[in-house]
Symmetry: C2
Subunit: 361 residues, 2 copies
């Protein structure tokens, strides 16, 4: 968002998945480095984008706190700030790969990006508000709102909101007002966006307006009917859980899906890997439908809550024809991406190994 020519910036180079609400995807083949430029960062909206003037913005801190308060934009800017990297991924990223088609924005590979976020730790505001001993969660509410079309739905307009455990809220959640050193754009949540590191990005509430400590588990629309999945716990019975942590995943950026590559050549395969509760330990590539795997080279150094770029020199076959490339990640605790889709995850958490089709010519 550098110029006043907002319309062009918004669409320039980004795939328009939906106009209203605005949903834009980065073509993942344009992955250019550790930091995703702001103008290339995917945009996910649920409702019309709230246009909020900095001077009008108020953030309320309330609920199960001893000292509820509110503050303005300048108040926040005067507090001690931190800058942290965080990879945000939409929980529906890769949805286009699901064999059984599902509803929802048909993201391919680029509903993910990595940025450096500057703002105030949520813990500082919670400390000031003095959270009561009974509180267990913190609800973050955005200013974006609308009516849900299909039941089960609450009556009237609702605002986008999400809760996180109090322990997470007091740990590493940031109330960000800068993205890669620039003021947030309206599309990315101006004036303030919460950044919940390591979680799918639906938790990183944009246009933040209210912080509510609560002593009861919150089961808002966007963590029950939507943005949830089925877990098999007690007696293998499916139980609904809110989406939370990003799942371990490697994605191939180049060659892109459908690309042509020369025969008998060395082709650089580029990509990124992220997610999981531990560091990326290994990324492997298979060009034979998963029968054999070869280690890719991890680039740079591991950065907490951020993706790891990788590359691999692929010696293409001499014979022309279709080929499938696959990448899979393993983390430092030994977890590896699953080859198969878990249907209990519904339309979200698509983290199995994906096939990228290329044509050897």
């Amino acid at each position: 968002m550098k110029s006043a020519d907002k319309q062009n910036d918004l669409l320039n180079g980004l795939i328009v998945r939906e106009q209203e609400p605005l949903n834009l995807e980065m073509p993942f083949s344009t992955l250019s480095g550790f930091t995703t430029p702001n103008e290339s960062f995917y945009v996910r909206c649920h409702f019309p984008i709230p246009e909020i003037a900095a001077a009008d913005w108020r953030l309320k801190v309330e609920g199960e706190v001893e000292a509820p308060f509110e503050l303005g934009y300048d108040d926040l800017l005067q507090m001690e700030a931190r800058t942290v990297p965080a990879t945000l991924e939409c929980a529906g990223n890769n949805r286009i790969f699901l064999e059984q088609k599902v509803k929802g924005v048909q993201w391919e590979l680029g509903a993910v990006g990595n940025a450096s976020w500057t703002g105030v730790p949520l813990s500082a505001l919670l400390a000031r508000a003095k959270v009561k001993p009974g509180a267990i969660e913190v609800i973050l509410e955005g200013a974006d709102e609308g009516e849900i079309a299909n039941p089960p739905r609450p009556a009237g307009k609702i605002r986008f909101a999400r809760s996180i455990p109090l322990s997470k809220a007091q740990d590493d959640v940031l109330l960000a007002y800068e993205m890669n050193g620039e003021k947030l754009s309206a599309t990315h949540g101006f004036p303030v966006r919460a950044i919940v590191p390591g979680w799918y990005a639906m938790a990183s509430i944009k246009w933040l307006g209210r912080i509510i400590a609560t002593s009861k588990p919150f089961a808002g629309y966007y963590q029950s009917i939507d943005y949830s999945y089925w877990e098999r716990t007690s007696g293998e019975l499916p139980t609904l859980r809110p989406l939370a942590e990003q799942q371990l995943k490697a994605e191939i950026a180049r060659p892109e899906n459908g690309a042509a590559v020369p025969a008998s050549a060395t082709v650089k395969v580029h990509g990124a890997a992220w997610g999981g509760a531990a560091e990326i330990a290994k990324v492997e590539i298979s060009a034979d439908d998963g029968r054999t795997w070869s280690a890719a080279q991890l680039l740079g150094e591991p950065v907490k809550d951020a993706w790891r770029l990788w590359e691999y020199d692929w010696r293409t076959p001499a014979t022309p024809g279709p080929q499938t490339l696959m990448a899979r990640a393993t983390d430092s605790r030994g977890h590896t991406q699953s080859p198969a889709r878990n249907a209990d995850h519904g339309t979200y958490m698509i983290s199995h190994v994906l096939p990228i089709r290329v044509e050897v010519r």
Copy 2:
């Protein structure tokens, strides 16, 4: 279910709301006394009715228990039994009255009945299994199963299941094998149906097969996506809650909706009232769209967890024309039925005052 002519018994006198799965309603105008005869009792099914032979039936008690076990039908019959009355009401009863039409079985007034249930207290089985200190809920699972059609849905077939707080499970839940002194019919859950007094009947699991103590809150399909409602708690934000306790309600049985009554006559208005956490203290009738209310006479004595019958002598007007009758209940804690529908309750908990239209001739 007295004769072998099951098909006729099933449909005889009951309104067929759905054939597959079988959903039958008692015409509420046939309300004949405190106890609903078995053959008049409404039938609610979600899947095909499991045909289970007593000799084949096993009940498993497992999960967060020290001593998991299973038992058979004869084992259960040899345990100390109790007989308790309980009014069961479908959480979607009265759905046909909703002005904004919603999906689901279009029950009018008769998805409710009162019976006397004989069986073994769940507490006895839990005591034998030695529930672990960390357990907080007990899941009851039926043998009825099927696949959910629309997302968000778990993968594959699921069984109908519901959890209740451990405290409720240890209090008054009954594992019933008799209904009004007769063996349960297949339609009512043979061999064994749980009876969860005071709760909407989706909690009273039919064809019971498994009891699972759990240390995590259970959010199964039938207490999250279905059989749930929106509550406004923290900061007025809607949060999804499983349906539980029956809501306070009075229903008019006679004159029935659409009936003709003579002018300048005394017409007996009959009905029942139930629900709420306290005794029915008062039922009132209005024949003038709720402007004035007159007390009906409560019949019999209050019985815990059962409905209270009532009647009222209505002096009909001299002038022919349409009239609306309304009944409203008040409990001993002073709660009165709301005149207006709460849209956050979705397709369930329809407990506002309903208009019964009659024609004075």
